[in-house]
Amino acid sequence: MTTNTATTTELAVSAHGLVKTFGDLRAVDGVDLEVRRGEVFGVLGPNGAGKTTMLQMLATLLPMDGGRAEIFGVDVKQHPHVVRQLVGVTGQYASVDENLTARENLFLFGRLLGLEKKKARATGEELLGRFGLTDAGDKQISQFSGGMRRRLDLAASLIHRPPLIFLDEPTTGLDPRTRGQMWDTIRELVAQGCTVLLTTQYLDEADQLADRIAVIDRGNKVAEGTPDQLKSQVGSSTLQLRLLDPAQTGQAVDVVRRVVGEEPVLTPEAGGINVPLPDANRAADVLIGLREQELLITSATVQKPTLDEVFMALTGHAAEESPEDNMANDEMEAAR
């Protein structure tokens, strides 16, 4: 029992060769994942990439079709009850009880987790306060906004103070302000020593929160590293150009190659050219180069790389939902 203790317990999550199939579709196709204690680990990928399925397997919500996983050294398949005590899960869609008020929800979950009535009430009150929901405590959940639901959902995941928290797309569908609040809350959790495994579709979210990121595409892990490492693969920013005359695209590409030494990405729209830049200030060089050749543009913008560009760089295809991915979602629904 003690031989590999020292190494395994350094890891909050250790998964090898995770597989989940829905019919012919391999939703998760042999993914390895290692999350260290105390870090925020981001799983980045488009809709239907298999992020949620992976999380659900690790949280004992879906049986694994292959591979093995340990949470703090506890085997997920063999000891699901222990794993459930170690993990707090906040789902993509708020999983709180619509029939109850916020206060009643937290009381119920507290009671289910073995708290005495008094303690369950006190813990609920404390969490309502911490998540700014005290005034809304007696409201029906149906009157809650999306952000309030997410906050209540996260609060419910924290009742038994789990050392590991799974957040499945915690900010999808939230407005920017609420999103920022959610980020602050997640940072607080980490400051208190929690380990966080989160999935997201947004590179900037992973960038803001995660210490390390795994990029998932069609059930496979295509890259892993710190946000900086990932971004350096696509340049620190992108210059998006639109030419006045699409016929001059070839000439413009030559200019770009000569000036920044990078291969530009052509967008499907006529005359669209995306140039990865090692440094945002090099944009001016490209523009000057185009002017010297009398290549006219209609617009030019400099942007940070988007998930799409990271994807394009890593996989050679766009981060779009494919029809099979939609099928995966449907089948996942059916399997629940």
């Binding site: 029992m1 203790t5 395994t8 317990t9 204690r37 949280a59 004992t60 919500l61 879906l62 049986p63 949470i71 703090f72 050294g73 506890v74 085997d75 063999q78 000891h79 009850h81 222990v82 459930r84 005590q85 170690l86 993990v87 899960v89 789902g91 869609y93 708020a94 999983s95 709180v96 009880d97 619509e98 029939n99 109850l100 009643e104 119920l108 979950f109 009671r111 289910l112 987790l113 073995g114 419910a156 038994h160 103070r161 789990p162 050392p163 020593g193 629940r336």
Partner: protein, 281 residues
């Protein structure tokens, strides 16, 4: 890190549980299971209070069916409504208990499609708690149905020979039978794809069970092949047992058979329900 966890000590630490998790129990204790089930029952009663339409089938139906069946069949079967009441009241008791427990399965299915069940599944709680909670809360529904049926009968002139204790025993047996049979529908709720499917299948089970029994007519009037089915139908045993209790005040062998039948149903369908619910995750 471990200080964050509630330090519940468990003797049966297995070889694969490592540092940081070794003081956590490998499965919920019986005490935890009971308190978790009661917490789920509390949730179910809150839900009932906010959705009073859940009580329609156990309030309106007993009133309507008792009056309707007594006045329609009374003269034809027993010569008068008053003479029919001792036959029909126990019959309606069994029927309303069955309808009420059919709703248990449908509501469970509806409930399971909601997001909160994802959380229940992710919590370290006994897998039976989300099923047992509504089952406990539904005792209220069976109790309401049985009470209203008996009161309607009394108002129509039913004078049970078994006295207060006999009626009380019949009332209790009805609730026990409803609770036990509900596990069949709970199981259906865990295997069916939608609430509509549960409703459809439940109807197919409920109608033969209630009408092909001695609930409304004496089985002696039926053709031989039908009588054979009626006599093995567990609902018939429950109806006869309730009649013996309320009308005679006797604890007969039928009561024993009815209770045994209930126990068998629970013994089969409770584990099946928990198994299929755990698999669904």
């Amino acid at each position: 890190m471990t200080t964050l966890l509630s330090p519940t000590v468990d003797e049966t630490v297995t070889a694969t549980t490592h540092v940081g998790a070794q003081d956590l129990p490998a499965r919920p204790s019986v005490r935890d299971t009971v308190s978790q089930s009661l917490a789920m029952a509390w949730r179910a009663t809150k839900k009932m209070r906010r959705n009073p339409e859940q009580f329609f089938d156990v309030t309106i139906q007993p009133l309507l069916f008792t009056a309707m069946f007594a006045y329609i069949f009374g003269g034809a079967i027993s010569g008068s409504v008053k003479d029919y009441l001792p036959i029909i009241i126990p019959g309606i008791l069994a029927q309303t208990a069955l309808t009420a427990c059919m709703a248990t399965g449908i509501q469970l299915r509806e409930d399971m499609d909601k997001g909160v069940f994802d959380r229940f599944k992710s919590l370290p709680i006994a897998r039976i708690a989300p099923l047992a909670g509504p089952a406990i809360a539904d005792l209220l529904r069976y109790g309401t149905a049985a009470t209203l049926t008996i009161l309607t009968g009394l108002a129509m002139g039913y004078r049970p020979g078994g006295g207060f204790l006999g009626v009380l025993a019949g009332w209790l047996l009805t609730i026990v039978a409803g609770w036990s049979l509900a596990w069949i529908f709970t199981w259906l709720g865990t295997i069916a794809r939608s609430a509509q499917a549960v409703q459809g299948i439940s109807m197919m089970i409920m109608f033969p069970l209630t009408f092909l029994s001695n609930a409304f007519v004496p089985s002696s009037t039926l053709p031989g092949w039908l009588r054979a089915f009626v006599q093995v139908n567990p609902v018939s045993h429950v109806v006869t047992a309730v009649r013996d209790l309320t009308n005679e005040g006797h604890v007969t062998a039928q009561v024993g058979w009815a209770l045994l039948g209930c126990a068998v149903v629970v013994a089969i369908f409770l584990p099946l329900s928990v198994r299929s619910y755990s698999r669904k995750m």
